[in-house]
Amino acid sequence: MTSGSTTLERQVTLIELVDRVLNKGVVLSGDITLSVAEVDLVYVGLRLLLASVGTLESLQSELT
């Protein structure tokens, strides 16, 4: 796999993560609303997906 496609996969994964956490999942009560802050889709979630914060930081530089 090329590094380009790896980066693409990571970006797509992060977008999908945010989409799931904020837009999918069980909603039990309709009376609570949440204002969604501006979320930087590219950076969110790397800590979840990768093993270490060190890896996160290097990837953040790569994606900038």
């Binding site: 996969e9 994964t13 999908e16 956490v21 949440l34 802050a37």
Partner: protein, 222 residues
């Protein structure tokens, strides 16, 4: 206030990770369903990166430890345990059914991407634009059918969005047994070969966020 991460069959196996604002996790049992939660100082107010990560991490760890998990949306907090218990109890039968459906399963995402087309934004006429758009949507539909066909032997459900946008052609979420993840990936890679101008990106495995109940309506299988 209480923050809800996910629902699972009782007794829930709780992970060692901490929740939002480093709070400890606990479970409240309602009619055989455990609501996994933590105390919060107040409503989180906005979905910060930190909150999204903490929520997603707990849900992922729960999915690794429990056979069936229904992730909760990051969508606010409950006043107290009584309010949360009442909310779960109101939908307990549907939630139990949804838990059964996702038991032993995981979710995989497939996004089909294309290079944005340049110079095609200005159509010569409205009708020409409409014909072009219709063809894009048909094309996206064919791609979606191809992906479906390639993975149908592995999956138990899907939620599909045929977008036919500039870059994103199709976005699909599939529910499949955890043991089929590798076969699923291979099948998607094979399907991609028939579409040299497109890039197929597989994501996951995810906890089954797309296969839960929302406001009482089941989402998927489609």
């Amino acid at each position: 206030m209480l923050h809800l991460y996910a629902l699972t069959q009782h007794p829930a196996r709780l992970p060692e990770v901490r929740g939002l604002a480093d709070a400890a996790l606990s479970a409240a049992e309602v009619d055989g369903i455990d609501a996994v939660l933590s105390q919060t100082a107040g409503n989180i107010g906005e979905a910060t990166e930190e909150a999204i990560l903490a929520h997603a991490r707990v849900v992922e760890e729960l999915a690794a430890l429990n056979d069936g998990v229904l992730p909760a949306r990051l969508d606010g907090a409950y006043e107290n345990e009584a309010a949360l218990v009442a909310a779960v109890r109101r939908r307990a039968p549907q939630l139990a059914e949804a838990l059964e459906r996702v038991r032993g399963c995981t979710e995989m995402g497939v996004r089909v991407l294309q290079e944005p087309k340049h110079g095609s934004a200005q159509a010569e006429s409205g009708s020409k634009y409409m014909r072009g758009r219709l063809e894009e949507i048909r094309h996206a539909g064919r791609v979606a059918s191809d992906v479906d066909e390639a993975v149908q032997v592995f999956v138990r459900g899907s939620t599909k969005r045929v977008l036919a946008s500039q870059q994103l052609v199709v976005s699909v979420a599939y529910l499949l047994p955890r043991s089929e993840v590798d076969s699923f990936r291979s099948a998607v890679e094979t399907a991609e070969q028939a579409w040299p101008d497109l890039t197929f990106v597989c994501t996951g495995p995810w906890p089954p966020y797309s296969f839960v109940l929302v406001d009482g309506d089941p989402l998927g299988p489609a």
